[in-house]
């Protein structure tokens, strides 16, 4: 058995480090765990004015439903309020945004990374400026023409706007990934018998996968988590999940709706966990390595 550096530390320090880690973990995870727990209670318990411990003991939940936990919040949100429709919309929007962004991003990023001209650099700088702007500044400019041309409220409009907001980032990120791939690889492929596009498809893209997946995930998160654009540009009947949650909160006069929001928040978060777990290897290699060295 070899002793590592960590083993040689005094016991008190190790204890303090462990305690800090546990504290930090609770701090980070508690809000979500609390929401998860509360989503199975009734509003009277989770938002109790009398005693916050009711959320833990579930006094009212037991009185109202006959069991310490209830799925009423989920039933109300998914079935009664048709949250699944919002879920479906989210799937359509995110998949479209990711596919379109990555298509333009890989092609454009490759072109920019191999361009000998100086304007490629300035294009990227401009892209960065647009990426830095808050999305809402763009939305206010879109609203009037969208109303006038009768484009407002539809999913495709939202998809296009989200792609526009996301594209600078994907271009920027993919360009830097492509730059890490030696030019010799393209040239090798072209001498070996590929056209420029074949070299891109057969040689460059296979090397790029970690980069494409990482960029795709970030694009997905942008579209999935977006509130500013979706809430402004989609009609009430056509909302994606995040603005739909907000619409539950907006009508607190009706009892129980706030619990719908809590249940939907949990529903929205779960897929993200699964996704990150599933792709964690590619994400890590994409974030650290950049690409394979030649």
């Amino acid at each position: 058995m070899s002793t590592t550096v960590a083993d040689r530390r005094p016991a008190s320090l190790r204890l303090a480090l462990g305690a800090f880690l546990v504290f930090w973990l609770i701090l980070a995870a508690f809000p979500f765990l609390w929401t998860l727990w509360g989503s199975f209670k009734v509003e009277g318990d989770f938002f109790s004015r009398a005693d916050w411990m009711n959320a833990v003991s579930g006094t009212l939940t037991e009185a109202e439903t006959g069991a310490p936990f209830t799925g009423d919040g989920y039933y109300g949100a998914w079935v009664q309020e048709e949250f699944w429709r919002a879920g479906l919309n989210t799937v359509i929007v995110t998949v479209s945004v990711v596919v379109i962004s990555l298509t333009f991003g890989t092609l454009g990023g490759y072109a920019l990374s191999r361009s000998p001209y100086r304007y490629a650099f300035w294009l990227l700088i401009i892209a960065l400026v647009f990426r830095a702007m808050p999305p809402i500044t763009l939305v206010s400019g879109y609203l009037l023409p969208f109303f006038e041309w009768n484009l407002w409220g539809h999913l495709p409009t939202t998809i296009i706007v989200l792609v526009a907001i996301n594209q600078p980032f994907t271009l920027w990120m993919l360009t830097s990934f492509f730059r890490n791939i030696p030019k010799d690889l393209d040239e090798s492929a072209m001498v070996d018998g590929c056209s420029r596009f074949q070299a891109f498809r057969h040689v460059i893209i296979p090397v790029m996968w970690p980069g494409v997946i990482t960029t795709g995930l970030f694009s997905f998160l942008l579209a999935y988590n977006d509130f500013a654009v979706t809430s402004m540009l989609l009609s009430r009947e056509n909302l994606t999940m995040v603005p739909k949650i907000e619409s539950f909160l907006g009508t607190t006069q009706t009892r129980g709706n706030v619990m719908f929001a809590v249940a939907s928040v949990v529903s929205v978060t779960a897929p993200l966990f699964i996704l990150v777990m599933f792709f964690q290897r590619q994400i890590v290699s994409g974030l650290t390595a950049g690409a394979v060295k030649g």
């Binding site: 030696p182 010799d184 690889l185 090798s188 492929a189 072209m190 001498v191 018998g193 090397v207 030649g294």
Partner: protein, 350 residues
């Protein structure tokens, strides 16, 4: 198999000249080495032949057909890159097979041709590995195998040995020489290493600052350098160059006096001679104190300061002299080369 002609080939980026009006005929089956210091235009020339760089002026003909406007893939060439350019996601087998696959050569032939190419460069044990799991020398051989698998008209090699260690470089150099003997494919080889040029080439093209300095066999270039650049670039050590004055057939510079140049006009000239042609003597044309002594193994090298330059003279390996000790060297006129002091061009002796 094909010959290559470069006609008035030039490459410029804005005002920067990469290659200046180059004319060259490379015979079918010839092994031609482009030699020069970095930035001399040798790689640019090769990349223009490959089609990876556009030409600014002039024509490139392969097998008599103008290829200027052809894509690299349509020029029927194979290239070995300095960094090898292996495809990291494919196995060695797939790397070698790739040119066959993208060129639509019938599937049935692939296996046999890949195996033959890999056997030629002794890669059979590594076919299922990824390039990342190979040593530098093995990667280099994969690049070679990928080039020969398709029997192209022309091989282009861009400093293929510069990433290998010294020992491997010698053995791979021999392998390339042997491969060329076997395949007899026209080969253009770019290097800045004159030993590689000397050992591999049928003919050497010495380049500097985008311009061809001299074209000739290795022996030609060594024995009759066309100008002071070639003289100073070829040979190890390079030719000694001393600036001095010719008066009545006698060359004179500080601590140097060499008679015997009848028929050469008076005036400033540059004189050159190789260290191994001169020898240490009791009295001689050069008499100067020792600047440094180096033991090379089979011989030793005495350096003296004469004529405003450091002059190397090869001596027997048991020759010993202290730094500062005066010595003399016998440098007869017939081992000397003369160059114009202003232009650096070789002056032919009558």
């Amino acid at each position: 198999m094909a010959d290559i002609q470069l006609q008035n080939l030039s490459k410029r980026w804005g005002t920067f000249v990469g290659v200046q009006t180059m004319n060259l005929h490379i015979a079918d089956g010839e092994f031609l080495v482009l030699l020069g210091p970095s930035g001399c235009g040798k790689t640019t020339t090769m990349r223009m032949i490959a089609g990876l760089e556009d030409t600014t002026e002039g024509d490139i003909l392969i097998g008599g057909a103008r290829v200027n406007d052809l894509e690299p893939k349509d020029r029927d060439i194979a290239m070995v890159f300095q960094s090898y350019g292996l495809y990291p996601t494919m196995t060695v087998y797939e790397n070698i097979r790739f040119p066959l696959k993208v060129r639509g050569i019938p599937q049935a032939e692939h296996h046999e041709r890949v195996m033959r190419a890999s056997a030629t460069v002794e890669l059979d044990d590594f076919l299922q590995r990824k390039p990342a799991a190979l040593s530098g020398g093995q990667r280099q051989r994969v690049a070679l195998a990928r080039a020969i698998v398709r029997k192209p008209k022309v091989f282009l090699m861009d400093e293929p040995l510069s990433n290998l260690d010294a020992k491997l470089r010698v053995s791979t150099r021999a392998q390339i020489k042997n491969l060329h003997h076997e395949l007899k494919t026209t080969t253009i080889y770019v290097t800045h290493d004159q030993i590689e040029a000397m050992t591999l080439a049928d003919r050497v093209v010495v380049m500097n600052k985008g311009a061809v300095q001299q074209v000739g066999t290795p022996l030609d270039i060594y024995d009759r350098p066309a100008n002071t650049f070639v003289a100073g670039f070829i040979g190890s050590p390079a030719m000694n160059l001393i600036e001095g004055r010719m008066t009545g057939g006698v060359f004179e510079a500080d601590r140097v006096r060499i008679p015997g140049f009848g028929g050469i006009a008076d005036g400033p000239v540059t004189l050159g001679f190789r260290a191994e042609d001169a020898r240490i003597a009791d009295t001689g044309e050069i008499a100067a104190p020792v600047y440094s002594m180096e033991l090379l193994g089979d011989a030793s090298m005495a350096t003296v300061q004469a004529g405003g330059a450091l002059v190397a003279i090869k001596a027997a390996k048991d020759f010993m002299a202290q730094i500062g000790q005066p010595i003399a060297a016998h440098v007869p006129a017939d081992i000397c080369h003369l160059f114009d002091a202003a232009t650096g061009q070789r002056i032919e002796r009558p």
